[in-house]
C-alpha cells in the first residue's frame, strides 16, 4: 500500500527548499551487507539516506557511494562521533568536500553511554554551519526550548530523539514531541529511538513531518521486511494524523445507537 493509491491529498514534504517524496529518511548504519542496504532503500522508498566519514580502510570491499548512487538516493552526511562543536563543524566541511552537498545531519553528542546531544555545543555548531551556508538538520533532545533555539539560528529542520540512538525504546516523551511540533515552523523529523513500526506510526500521529530510522531496520532479524513495515507505518501515521483521531475518554461510548432498540422483555407471568 502506498499513499499514491490512497485517494487523499497531502502537502509535500519540504525540507531546506527541497521537496522529498518520502517522509522516511534511512540511516545506512548497521547493515551487514551492502546488498541488504540497497534492498532496504528500495523497500523504504527513501530518497535521502545518511552517511558518515571515517578513516579510509584500504581493505574495505565494495563501494558504498556506488551502491547509493545506483539506488538514486541523495546523501545526508552526518557528524556522528563528534563531541565538540569544532569537530562537528570540521566534519561537516569535510563531508561537503567529499560528497558535494551542503546538507548535514548535525550530531554533537555528550557521552558514549547515552549518545545524547550536548545542547550548548550543538547550538554553537548549528549557528556556525548555518552561517557558512549549510542546510543543517540537527539531531536534538526532545526539548521544545532547544528545538526553538535551533530553529531560530536557521536550522532547516529539527530532529528530536524519541529515545537514545539504537536503544529501540520508542518515544519516551510524546508530550514533549507534541510541544515541539506545536510551535515549530520548520519540519520536525523524529530521529532515534524507533524500535519497530508502531513507534514510527506514533511519531507521525503526533504530527512529526518525517522519521529518520537506521537501527530498527538495519538490525531487525529481517531488515528488508522491517523496511517495508516502517515505510507503511510512516504512511499510516501520516494518514491518521491528517484524519484526526477521536478524543480519549474514560468511559465507553456506544457506536451503535440506543434509539430503536428492540424490547425483548418476556411477558410477566
Amino acid at each position: 500500500m502506498s499513499t499514491e493509491q490512497i485517494p487523499v491529498t497531502d502537502t509535500p514534504f519540504e525540507v531546506g527548499g527541497r521537496t522529498l517524496r518520502s517522509r522516511l529518511i534511512l540511516g545506512t548504519g548497521g547493515f551487514k551487507r551492502l546488498e541488504t542496504l540497497a534492498e532496504a532503500i528500495r523497500a523504504t522508498r527513501a530518497e535521502l539516506v545518511t552517511i558518515a566519514l571515517r578513516r579510509i580502510d584500504p581493505k574495505a570491499r565494495g563501494s558504498l557511494t556506488d551502491v547509493l548512487d545506483e539506488c538514486g538516493v541523495e546523501l545526508l552526511p552526518n557528524t556522528a562521533g563528534c563531541y565538540t562543536a569544532r569537530d562537528a563543524v570540521v566534519t561537516a566541511k569535510l563531508a561537503r568536500e567529499a560528497f558535494g552537498t551542503d546538507w548535514v545531519k548535525l550530531e554533537v553528542i555528550g557521552d558514549d553511554r547515552t549518545l545524547l546531544p550536548d545542547a550548548p555545543e550543538l547550538l554553537l555548531a548549528a549557528e556556525e554551519l548555518v552561517d557558512d551556508g549549510f542546510t543543517v538538520l540537527p539531531y536534538t533532545n526532545d526539548d521544545p526550548i532547544l528545538a526553538r533555539r535551533l530553529e531560530d539560528v536557521g536550522c532547516a529542520a529539527v530532529m528530536p530523539l524519541g529515545s537514545p540512538i539504537g536503544s529501540g525504546m520508542g518515544i519516551r516523551n510524546p508530550y514533549n514531541l507534541s510541544l515541539i511540533v506545536e510551535r515549530a515552523n520548520v519540519p520536525v523529523i523524529l530521529d532515534a529511538g524507533v524500535g519497530t513500526a508502531s513507534d514510527a506510526a506514533l511519531a507521525m500521529e503526533l504530527g512529526c513531518d518525517g522519521v529518520l530510522c537506521a537501527s530498527a531496520i538495519a538490525r531487525a532479524h529481517d531488515p528488508v521486511a522491517m523496511a517495508h513495515a516502517i515505510r507503511a507505518a510512516v504512511e499510516a501515521g501520516r494518514l491518521a494524523r491528517g484524519a484526526g483521531r477521536i478524543p480519549r475518554r474514560l468511559h465507553a461510548e456506544a457506536s451503535t445507537p440506543d434509539d430503536g432498540l428492540a424490547d425483548l422483555t418476556p411477558p410477566v407471568e
Partner: protein
C-alpha cells in the same frame, strides 16, 4: 615523519594526492576528504599540497552510518 590516519610514515614532503595513492584511493574519487592538523584541505589542493614534518593527515571516505 608524518602521520596518516594515526600511523607514522616516512613520507615527509609527499603530496596529499600521493598519500591517497598509497592508500589505494584515486585523487578524484568521490566520497573522499582530507584534513591536515584538523583543517580541511580542499580537493583542488591535493596534487600540490605537500605534507610537512610532524603534520597529521586524516584521509577519510564514506562509511555506513545513521
Amino acid at each position: 615523519m608524518i602521520f596518516v590516519n594515526g600511523e607514522p610514515r616516512e613520507r615527509t614532503g609527499a603530496t596529499i594526492a600521493e598519500l591517497l595513492s598509497d592508500l589505494g584511493v584515486e585523487a578524484r574519487a568521490r566520497g573522499v576528504a582530507v584534513a591536515v592538523d584538523g583543517e580541511v584541505v580542499p580537493r583542488a589542493e591535493w596534487p600540490a599540497r605537500r605534507v610537512n614534518d610532524g603534520e597529521r593527515v586524516e584521509a577519510l571516505s564514506a562509511m555506513q552510518g545513521g
